[in-house]
Symmetry: C2
Subunit: 109 residues, 2 copies
Amino acid sequence: MTVEEPAPVHPALDLDDAVHQKTRLALLTVLDEAGRADFPYLRKVLNLTDGNLGRHLDVLAQQGLVEITKGYAGRRPRTWAAITPKGEQALAAEMRLLAALLERFNNRG
Amino acid sequence: MTVEEPAPVHPALDLDDAVHQKTRLALLTVLDEAGRADFPYLRKVLNLTDGNLGRHLDVLAQQGLVEITKGYAGRRPRTWAAITPKGEQALAAEMRLLAALLERFNNRG
């Protein structure tokens, strides 16, 4: 069955790759829940290598979606990541699009 | 607030990049609705270039998620893409994970 008539714009097309990529999506949801988390926690809970975690957090930070802060816990250097208001809005927009996708999938003929 | 206790495995980590990438996700949902569609339709409804469409369909075909068939419509050569049973299962698995992500997001504290 070749479908000819034009379909509405597909919700998946509005997804933002910076947010939608699975590791970054996981990072944003964990940070949205925790507010702020340090690198060891993020590495552990998302089963990431240092390199992978650093790369994805860089992408998110360059887009202004997370903020990276360095400090000390006692005498040990620590790095934290925190979601920004812009990050919260981007995650909410992603979730709205995923909900639209799910609805479309669940209501398909 | 640094969260210390181990969290359950994050649903986003089980996402399959072959399916989750936004253009491929759009292609699978459209093909899941239409069953089969030709290149001009997919290009138009998803606003893709030939190269982009071909590249993403190759990834899906290599994973056995879609099947590409070439034929004629009248005397004009045509190429169709159809979702395979494996593709339908992969899309259903993606949707279950997206539903879990959404539920987690909507129930966060």
